[in-house]
């Protein structure tokens, strides 16, 4: 679905369904440098199981026009504007990594947020200086870092649950399509983000036990500040649990949103 947000073209994947005001809405928010299709299996499931699905491409990502938005708070404003443009009054958020920070920010500021699922999240989400620096210089090494650290160590030597696909190659191909500066914008936004609010809606953490980008233990601060949140630790997954452990991730979401 094509949208106009802040007078610019934007895109939301809807699993080939028209918006139905009678259904609950679920918004998927991708991580740094990526796009809606990272949630392919999960967003498609909910789209075919009674939900309005909006898997958004943030500005400057996927099919949405740039430039990218500079901070997590501004990204949250943009998401709110996108929903407002569609007259959606209540929605649940599923955010991965940077998308999880955006979900957190939305939940602390906007009443329209119903429930949030935070995947591959840590706080503070500090990005190492070599990674930031490579991204600042638009050095392809930054794509390598995102790809390798974005998956569990055994991924290159293991099987992809999605038959015939090579996870490293897929992520690299996505990152290579980015305009210069987009990855740096996103990483800096994550690095700079300060969470000052409170989350009162139901929340779920889905964390990868083998995550080296945002190790599961780095979610402890958020888990402390959202004491009623549920946590699912996915044993064999790294940071990219939607691809590395798609069924476990989907099952955790189904159980939470049931």
């Amino acid at each position: 679905m094509d949208l106009v947000v802040d007078k610019k073209r934007a895109f939301a994947y809807t699993a080939a369904h028209d918006f139905d005001a009678g259904k609950p809405s679920m918004v998927f928010l991708h991580g740094a440098g990526l796009d809606h299709s990272l949630f392919g299996l999960q967003s498609r499931y909910f789209g075919y199981h009674g939900w309005n699905v909006l898997a958004l491409d943030l500005p400057g990502h996927g099919r949405s026009a740039g430039p990218p938005v500079a901070s997590v708070a501004a990204m949250a404003d943009w998401v709110s504007s996108a929903l407002e443009s569609l007259h959606i009054e209540k929605a649940s958020l599923v955010g991965h990594s940077m998308g999880a920070l955006i979900s957190l920010e939305c939940a602390s500021r906007f009443r329209w947020v119903d429930r949030i699922a935070l995947l591959g999240v840590g706080y503070p989400m500090k990005v190492s200086e070599p990674f930031l620096d490579a991204a600042r210089r638009n050095d392809p090494a930054a794509y390598d870092m995102e790809t390798i650290w974005g998956h569990a160590a055994p991924v290159p030597l293991g099987g992809n649950p999605n038959p015939g696909m090579w996870m490293y190659g897929d992520m690299l191909a996505r990152l290579r399509r980015l305009a210069p500066g987009v990855l740096y914008n996103d990483l800096k936004a994550c690095n700079d983000y300060q969470f000052a609010g409170q989350v009162k809606c139901p929340a779920l953490f889905i964390l990868g036990k083998r995550d080296v980008m945002t190790p599961a233990k780095t979610a402890a601060e958020l888990q402390k500040r959202i004491p009623d949140a549920k946590t699912v630790l996915v044993p064999l997954s790294g940071h990219s649990m939607m691809a590395e452990a798609p069924d476990e991730t989907l099952d955790a979401l189904i159980a939470f949103f049931a």
């Binding site: 498609r44 099919r63 390798i148 290159p156 015939g164 696909m165 690299l172 191909a173 399509r177 069924d247």
Partner: protein, 431 residues
């Protein structure tokens, strides 16, 4: 702080795509000799059919053993993924049928394997897809042949029969300027000698029957996508960017971005045309790939010795191997193939058809058959076999002389190969 590192080629050749079997701990890739897979429940079945969950449904579409081969080749080539097929020809057909239908046009190098030439020049024409064959060495010819309805440029990394080196950087630039992808047949080079995606190709395939397997026991193909071509931005590929009534109105590019081509190829091409790979075949080809990085240097080393021997032999008119200075693509070969120009080449014997026939019949180590890329050395004399109906004049047009012999150099002791050739050349001289 050092950046993270990808596993090396040799490690990927042995491991990529497989972890020890979770059920049994088996280290080798198990052969999942099954047609189908039991669903957990009806909801699970529906989700698998509708692509809401990852997994296998029916082995024509995907199979765990075949998936290991697909992922391994994708890793070795640096692609987003791959689809294994019944043969290399099936891989070419799958690529074409995924990208276009009747009314479309292909520009292809004329230096192609005969089977590919037949498919493009005759069979696909019957289905409304036309091909213009061009001089692969002339970028201007490629440019001139492109039409409004052109949807693909196609060539072999090393072409038949003159072992033409395809200038992938130049031809891919021409393709991309016209918003169409470049597909290459990388069979003769394998990912060990050349990485076509790094040079600009968008799609590639292998006849896995050849060097990938190496043992000559299994027929198969593998089609790989780099994920770099932007189908949406091109605007020329409705099969990937418009809703498809044959799969719940799925827009494959919207659904999966970089995976759109492979998704349609699997969900339509394998589903409907059905040219899938059998699990035992995948297992056999995987056994070959585990030693690809050891075999290819030896293939090249033996080839260089044989080429050197033939080049100085008085009964040999000409040797066509790109590493030789008099080959038209010598400079390009140095640039694109620093690890070697493969192990298939041709040469002309003095004395024409009669000498060629006598040469073939005198060989003892080389096997006279219609294949290449085996661990064993192979030979064929086109004028008396694959092209025997053609006159000398027609052979010349095809770049084949009456005394042209094609060799595929194997892994035997190089001295034994040279002695075998020496004996056969003497027989040819007496003919």
């Amino acid at each position: 702080m050092a950046g993270p590192k990808y596993p090396g080629f040799d490690t990927l050749a042995l491991h990529a795509g497989q972890s020890p079997d979770p059920a049994t701990g088996a280290r080798a890739v198990p052969v999942y000799q099954t047609t189908s897979y039991v669903f957990r429940d009806t909801e699970h079945a529906a989700s698998l059919f509708n692509m809401e969950r990852a997994g296998h449904v029916y082995s024509r579409i995907s199979n765990p053993t075949v998936a290991v081969l697909e992922e391994r080749i994708a890793a070795l080539e640096g692609g987003v993924g791959a689809i294994a097929t019944a043969s290399g020809q099936a891989a070419l057909h799958l690529a074409v049928s995924t990208l276009m239908g009747a009314g479309a046009h292909i520009v292809a190098s004329g230096a192609l394997y005969g089977g590919s030439h037949n498919l493009l020049g005759y069979t696909l024409k019957r289905f409304g897809i036309e091909t213009t064959f061009v001089n692969g060495r002339n970028p201007g010819d490629w440019k001139k042949a492109i039409r409004e309805n052109t949807r693909l440029l196609f060539g072999e990394t090393l072409g038949n029969p003159g072992i033409d080196v395809l200038d992938i950087p130049a031809i891919s630039e021409i393709a991309h300027a016209s918003k169409v992808p470049l597909l290459v047949d990388a069979t003769f080079t394998t990912p060990f000698l050349m990485k076509p995606f790094e040079l600009g190709a968008d799609l590639l395939y292998h006849s896995a029957t050849k060097f990938l397997g190496g043992h000559g026991v299994a027929i198969g193909g593998v089609l790989v996508d780099s994920g770099r071509f932007d189908w949406e931005a091109s605007g020329k590929f409705d099969t990937l960017t418009a809703p498809y009534a044959g799969f719940h109105n799925m827009d494959f590019e919207e659904e999966s971005g970089t995976r759109a081509f492979l998704l349609r190829a699997r969900r339509e091409g394998l589903r409907d045309f059905g040219a899938c790979m059998a699990p035992m075949t995948a297992f056999q080809i995987l056994q070959g790939i585990e030693t690809l990085h050891l075999r290819m240097p030896r293939h090249v080393e033996n080839t260089r010795k044989v080429v050197a021997y033939l080049s100085s032999h008085s009964s040999v008119e000409k040797v066509l191997y790109p590493e030789l200075k008099d080959h038209p693509d010598h400079d390009l070969c140095r640039k694109l193939l620093p690890n070697g120009a493969g192990a298939v080449f041709s040469f002309d014997i003095k004395g024409g058809r009669k000498a060629g026939k006598a040469f073939i019949e005198a060989l003892r180590v080389f096997s006279h058959l219609a294949n290449v890329g085996d661990a064993k050395s192979l030979v064929i004399h086109p004028a008396t076999t694959t092209h025997y109906r053609m006159s000398d004049a027609d052979l010349k047009k095809a770049g084949i002389g009456p005394g042209t012999v094609r060799l595929s150099i194997g892994l035997e002791d190089a001295q034994d190969l040279i002695e075998d050739l020496d004996r056969a050349l003497k027989a040819a001289a007496r003919a």
